[in-house]
Structure formats: structure tokens, C-alpha cells
Amino acid sequence: MKYIESKILANQRITDDIFVLKVAYKEDDVNAGQFFMLKSWDSELTLMRPISVFKAEEDALWFMYRTVGQGTRKMAELKRGGRIRLLGPCGNGYPCGEIKGRVAVVGGGVGIPPLCHTSKLLHEQGTTVDAYLGYRDEPFALEDFEPWCTDIFVSTEHGEEGYRGFVTDLLHPEQYDVVITCGPEVMMRKVAAMCAEKDVTCYCSLEHRMACGIGACLGCSIRTKNGMKRVCKDGPVFQSTDLMW
């Protein structure tokens, strides 16, 4: 984990409120599901913003984010050639080494991007990956999943593309050895419950407000069956059976 300043290679809007940011990066390898604390300001805003890794290349990192508040709106103004600060890689990430057989990645909204990097790492270790991607309206990043996934199932809430409804309607956990999910809590709870019913291992990646991002401030602690855990350091990935929801 390092705190570095880096150069912005691209920052583009890809849907109404989703942006993709590419930054130069030659530091540590990034595990599946890890994230960085980002900031493109000095002290106008106090806190850095946790954003998960969408894609990792040899000399660049890609982040995908939705403009939801002050921080992400400031990030949306960034231009190629500008500078951004990164703290990371943060968190535990998915335990790819322990994952064998067939895997389903189930994502919703801005929970989808980290599953792309995850799919790539799983594919590279010889794991078969299917993606279940649920969007509100306009799909994004589909082409980025294609090289790593055998099948890709898409849903939109109003049927703009793919299945009309929730992506969990398409999932049959019993077809998989492991299910990995990231997205809105309501979706992950549904996925976790479906997996529990079929006795399939399920990993969830949680989103949380954070201050330090490295496990010091306890601003993102949650109750789990194994006691209080820091989402930024002990997570963001938890086995669904450890969560209390």
C-alpha cells in the first residue's frame, strides 16, 4: 500500500452519470476486489473517496465511478494530463486463490466495475466465469467483461437491454461453485440468500463511507458474526455467512 500522486491518462463520461478514469500506475499488483482512496483536491474536501479498481494494466489503473456527491462531481471535472492522488491498494479483496471450479459474478450498478478486474484474474487462473450484470437503464462496460467471461447475462429495470427486471431473476446459484457479488445491498442480500438456500459459497463486497481507508479510524466498522470488522481493512469482501443482514 502506498500513497502516490499520479497522472490522469483519461477521464470520460460513458453514461449520464458514470465516468471512467484511467491513471498511470506502476506500483503494487492489485488483487480482485481491492480499492483505492482517491482525491483530486487539496483540503477543499476533507476525505478521500474509496473507489474500486475496474481494470488494472501493467502501467495503468482504471476506475469507474458514478457522480453522486461533492467528491465524485469534482473527479468528473478532471482532465487528461491532470494529477490525482491515490492511496492503496486497500482492503482484502476476493480470495481468488481459494476459488475453484465455476464462478458467477453478480453485479449491480457501480458494483459492476470491480467484477471486471475480478473476472480477469479468475479467468487467468483458469476459472470459468459467468457474469450477471444488472443495470438501472443503460448498460456499460459489457465489452470489458467479454474477454474473461463465458456467458454474460444482462438485465435492465425497464427492459432497455437484455432481461427486464432484476439480474437475480436470471441466477441459478446451484450451477456454480462460488458466487461473487457486488452492488446495492438489497441485491447482495438476495444473492446471499439464494446461495445459502443452495449451499453455495458466496462472497460479498461491501460499500461504506470511509475516512482513513486503512483501518485506523473505525469509521466504517460493521457488526459481523465474528465481531466488529472494518470494511476498509478486514473487508470490503466478506463471506456472506459472516454478515448480519
Binding site: 482525491k39 476533507t46 476525505l47 482513513c212 485506523a216 469509521g219 466498522s221
Partner: protein, 303 residues
């Protein structure tokens, strides 16, 4: 050649190699930040706020960005004094700087039992937290009224065999009276200020952001008020004061020293810049050189 600047200070007989102390609650027990830089470069570290028994802390949102600052409602999540003594202290010791154990309480008995246990442990100083706004039953209750604070500090003083710092709340009815009461009750030093009790509302949800409704405000937004409080307290007490409140830069550090602070704590800035401790220290040396200050102690209390 750059002139050598003396940054070493003394607080209640304890030597610090420089006046920067990591503030309680923002820095854990130092371990995480030590992965980013050698936190031993700081003058000292004040531990995460301990309580006699382990605490899970508060449910719901715990941190919230505000204009030039942030609010928190962590609620003293900590492993308890015993676990800290058994396994936390050794980790902090290896940094080689001043080890301050910060401790809060819910009752007089919690405070005295905890202080007694910590007095037998390998710590350099005890920072008594009578100012946490985020625990319902007590905490800040001890830090509002001077006569209540006087009582708790007196009782802790009887069992505390380490230099005793009392951390004051800016929510005290009268900060100077509070400071004088703690001094009279036997405090060796004071640290101020803790966070200001504040509120945030989520207008879309039409309810308060924090489960506890009120939470603690920190960061640059509070610095001028904290500076005023440190200044007024320093004018009245005869024990050293550690300045806290929105210190982000080397300039801020010097201002607090000029207001009378013997040392300072940096908290919220660690979230804005995880290398803040090291960066502020480097900048402080340069700033003193530029300002022609050979010894930081020269400018203490000149304002």
C-alpha cells in the same frame, strides 16, 4: 547550510522530540499509518480512546464530510484497557516515541479502575478523555460542568501514577473554568479541544444522518475557535497545554505554539493526507528556518 532548528519540547516532564502528536481516534494504535511512513518520527501518539471494557461503538453512519471538516460518531469502539495492556502497548512501543494512552469512561469507577490498570502498564502518559460527544451515558457529561470534571480528575489523580493529561471538550460551559478546575484537581497537562457537538440532516431521507442525532465536528472549520480556546486557557493555567483542532499545516502548528501550546495533536488531517504527520514535520523545520526561529520554544505564548 540550513540552520538547525530545535523542535524538542517538554510536556509535564516528558520530553518529546517534536511537538507533533497523532490525535486519539484518528490514528488507531499507529500500526496502519506505520505502513505508509515511519510514525516514530512524530513526537508521540495518543492511542485510540480506550474504555475499561471493550466497546463495539455506534451503529449507522460514523463519518460524514462537512464544509472544511468532517463529523464522526464512532462511539469509542475499542478493545478495552486490558487487551490494550496485553497486546496493544508492545506494538506502539516499537515506534520509539511518546506513548500516550487515551481513556474515556461511563462512570467514576470505570475511570479510576482503568487509570489504575494503565498506571501499572508501560505507558508514558495518560490522556483522560472527559470530552467524547458520542457516547450517550457519560463521556462528555464529565466534560461540561467544571465541578463534575473536578471530581473525576481528583479521583483519577489519586490512582494515576503517570503524568496525567486531561482532554477538554469545547462544549464545556466555560472552557477556562473547566481548565482551572482540572488543574486544581491535579492534572499535569491539558489537551484541547475535542470535537464540537454538531448535527447533520439527510434531507432526502428527512432524518438525522447519525443514529445518535448529534456527532462531533472536527477539521479546518474549527481551527480558529480551537486556537482562541487554547489561547484563553494558556493565559490562565500554569500547566502545559496541548493544542488540538483543525491543525493541517506547519503554519497552524506555529500559531498554536504562539497561542501558548506546548505541543499539538493532529487528527482529521491524517484522513486528508495520510502522510500528514511526516509532511507537517518536514514543513515545520523549513518554516522555522524561514521565520528565523532556532528553537520552537522561543515563540511559545508570545501572542
Amino acid at each position: 547550510m540550513d540552520k538547525i532548528v530545535n523542535l524538542s519540547v517538554e510536556v509535564a516532564g516528558v520530553p518529546f522530540k517534536n511537538p507533533l502528536i497523532a490525535a486519539s481516534g484518528t490514528f488507531g494504535f499507529g500500526e496502519e499509518y506505520n505502513e505508509l511512513y515511519d510514525v516514530g518520527c512524530l513526537g508521540g501518539i495518543s492511542s485510540k480512546g480506550l474504555t475499561l471494557h471493550p466497546k463495539d461503538g455506534n451503529d449507522g453512519i460514523r463519518v460524514w464530510e462537512t464544509a472544511s471538516g468532517m463529523m464522526n460518531s464512532v462511539g469509542l469502539q475499542n478493545p478495552g484497557v486490558e487487551a490494550f495492556v496485553e497486546s496493544g502497548i508492545a506494538g506502539m512501543r516499537r515506534f520509539g516515541n511518546v506513548l500516550i494512552a487515551n481513556m474515556g469512561g461511563h462512570s467514576m469507577e470505570d475511570y479510576t479502575t482503568g487509570a489504575s490498570l494503565l498506571s501499572d502498564a508501560d505507558i508514558d502518559m495518560l490522556e483522560l478523555n472527559i470530552s467524547c460527544p458520542n457516547v450517550k451515558s457519560g463521556g462528555m457529561a464529565f466534560g461540561i460542568k467544571a465541578e463534575v470534571a473536578r471530581e473525576v480528575v481528583s479521583e483519577v489523580r489519586k490512582v494515576c501514577r503517570k503524568p496525567l493529561i486531561v482532554k477538554l471538550s469545547p462544549n464545556a460551559e466555560n472552557i477556562v473554568e473547566m481548565a482551572l478546575a482540572c488543574e486544581a484537581a491535579g492534572a499535569d497537562a491539558l489537551s484541547l479541544v475535542n470535537t464540537f457537538q454538531a448535527m447533520a440532516i439527510d434531507l432526502h431521507k428527512r432524518k438525522p444522518v447519525f443514529n445518535n442525532v448529534y456527532a462531533g465536528l472536527s477539521g479546518a472549520a474549527i481551527k480558529p475557535i480551537a486556537l482562541r480556546m487554547v489561547h484563553s486557557v494558556c493565559k490562565q493555567v500554569h500547566i502545559p497545554v496541548i493544542g488540538i483542532g483543525g491543525i493541517y499545516t506547519a503554519e497552524d502548528v506555529l500559531e498554536f505554539v504562539m497561542a501558548g501550546a506546548a505541543a499539538v495533536q493532529i487528527g482529521t488531517v491524517n484522513f486528508n493526507n495520510p502522510l500528514a504527520g511526516r509532511d507537517i514535520l518536514d514543513a515545520l523545520v523549513e518554516l522555522c528556518q524561514r521565520e528565523g526561529i532556532a528553537d520552537i520554544n522561543e515563540v511559545r505564548g508570545i501572542c
